[in-house]
Amino acid sequence: MIRWVTGWILSAPATTLVLVFLLLPVGATVLATLTTAEGFFASYGEFLQSGFRRTVLWRTLEIALLTTGFSLIVGFFTAYVVSRASPRWRSILIIAAVFPLLTGVVVRSFAFLILLGRNGIVNRFMVWLGVDGAPYSMLFTEGAVIVAMVYLFVPLMILTLVGVLENIPDDVIEAAASLGATPAQVFRQVIFPLAVPGLIVGAVLVFTGSFTAYATPQLVGGERVMVMGTFLHQQAMVAFDWDSAATIAAIMVAVTLAVVLVMTRMARRLNPLAS
């Protein structure tokens, strides 16, 4: 009895903090969108009827999906190399992935302004090479946002996957090889299936992160590549249309929760090591 109470008392301050300042305010934002003067879900109908808003939503989904896909591919192969490198190289490579991760989003997105600008290093290199049509205006395009976001999330993907890939016992790989599997077969039939739960966790992190991103699309995409995050800010702080902003926020919460719930369930089912 005493122990039961003590546990609750000790966790009470943190619980209260989350309930009062996270669940209540976010719940209020979401509830506000459900019951407007026009009736239930009216704000969502309104949102989806507007061509511009639909475009923003689809564009954000597209950017998030492409970012997730590229980060998965790049992160998986890199993490595989890191996980099989010698211990010395492994720690160097992990440090090299942690450093960008701990450097802020603003700094890393800002780097792409220098990189992709009209006078940026990429354009000057292309002019020097004599590429037709260079310099290009690469900033403020969807492609620039995707490249910058892949850059942003690859370290996270590498670190998530290194842990998973390291846990694949060498014995399993050796067994497959000694039974006659080619390296490509080992990769496809042994390593990849064992890495699927990790890939799902990484995909969830990257998708939710890029779907709700603000700083990178704002700096690299600007107003021309409006996404849900920048749109939410614009509606709330420039247009002062809080109902519209709340609807965007609620859609973000719904998409994030749906992706997390569906994917974690899938990860559990696809885990070949779980019995």
């Binding site: 122990r3 039961w4 003590t6 546990g7 609750w8 000790l10 966790s11 301050p13 943190a14 989350v18 300042f21 996270l22 669940l23 209540l24 305010p25 976010v26 209020a28 934002t29 890199t78 190399v81 099989r84 490198a85 720690s91 490579l93 440090i95 090299a96 450093f99 991760l101 701990l102 450097t103 802020g104 989003v105 603003v106 700094v107 890393r108 800002f110 780097a111 302004l113 220098i114 990189l115 290093i121 850059y151 690859v154 370290p155 670190l159 842990g163 060498d170 050796e174 090889a177 939710t208 709700t212 603000y214 700083a215 995050g229 939410l232 709330a236 702080m237 709340a246 926020a249 994030t256």
Partner: protein, 262 residues
């Protein structure tokens, strides 16, 4: 042991790491340029843009605010997070499973939604001052890191040592401070450091919780970049990278950086 990696795979990883490091090296280069515009490679070497940061009141002021908020939010989060992590590990059987989920909730809710919701309910709705709202937002933002890191270091702590201290006559609070806390010291330091850097780097929560005279460094950087294209921001970025290196050194000493791959 099979550690053979095919050369194309290694080549691919090398390219990825060049992609990861390149932009940051370019920022460092650009910060040293003597020109009034951003350029790489730098034209003429100079440290004047570093001096310029401290000459600009907006950067000085927001740096102080960012530091204050990060420090206070981290301390608050540890203050409520350590007892919570302790309870989650010590009374695991007695407490419901959803409680530990509750503490990772701030990670699941998009940061930008948290920022906007706090603006609606706490700053405008409840009329709290901007600085308090910002502090609350950042405390929530870093709470999951504190609970998670400290839980991880408590999970390898043998609670029978604490029970031994209590059975030998130590009051529970003394047993905690003298026996438990020193054992999870490295976890607390790592949690502090990770929470601090998360708060310093935050954009999405602070975006809505700034007001007249109160803004954080990342928000000021965003505002500056939209108007000027001079190397000041590159210099600020380099300062932030120096901070990151310091943070990594501390995490490496306390938990080991491999902690982050788990």
């Amino acid at each position: 042991m099979i550690r053979r990696l095919s050369p194309p795979l290694i080549g691919f990883a090398v390219l990825v790491y060049i992609f990861l490091m390149g932009p940051l090296i370019i920022v460092i280069g650009a910060s040293l340029s003597d020109t009034t515009f951003l350029t790489f490679p730098p034209q003429g070497l100079s440290l004047r843009w570093f001096d310029r940061i401290f000459e600009m009141a907006a950067f000085r002021r927001t740096m102080v605010t960012s530091f204050q908020v990060a420090m206070l939010a981290t301390c608050f989060a540890l203050l409520v997070g350590i007892p919570a992590a302790y309870a989650l590990n010590r009374y695991r059987i007695q407490l419901p499973g959803w409680l530990s989920t509750l503490f990772v909730l701030p990670v699941l809710v998009p940061e930008i939604v948290l920022g906007f919701s706090l603006l609606r309910s706490v700053q405008v709705g409840a009329g709290l001052p901007v600085f308090s709202a910002l502090l609350i937002g950042h405390t929530l933002l870093v709470l999951p890191y504190c609970v998670r890191v400290i839980s991880a270091s408590l999970s390898s702590f043998d609670f029978s040592i604490e029970e031994a201290a209590i059975s030998l006559g130590a009051p529970p609070w003394q047993a905690f401070f003298v026996v438990v806390l020193p054992n999870i010291r490295s976890g607390v330091i790592a949690a502090f450091i990770l929470a601090f850097i998360t708060s310093i780097n935050d954009v999405s929560v602070a975006l809505f919780l700034t007001g007249p005279g109160i803004s954080t460094l990342p928000i000021q950087i965003l505002a500056h970049v939209e108007q000027f294209f001079d190397p000041v921001v590159a210099s600020v970025s380099v300062l932030l990278m120096v901070l990151t290196v310091a943070v990594m050194a501390i995490v490496e000493r306390t938990l080991g950086l491999t902690f982050l791959t788990r």
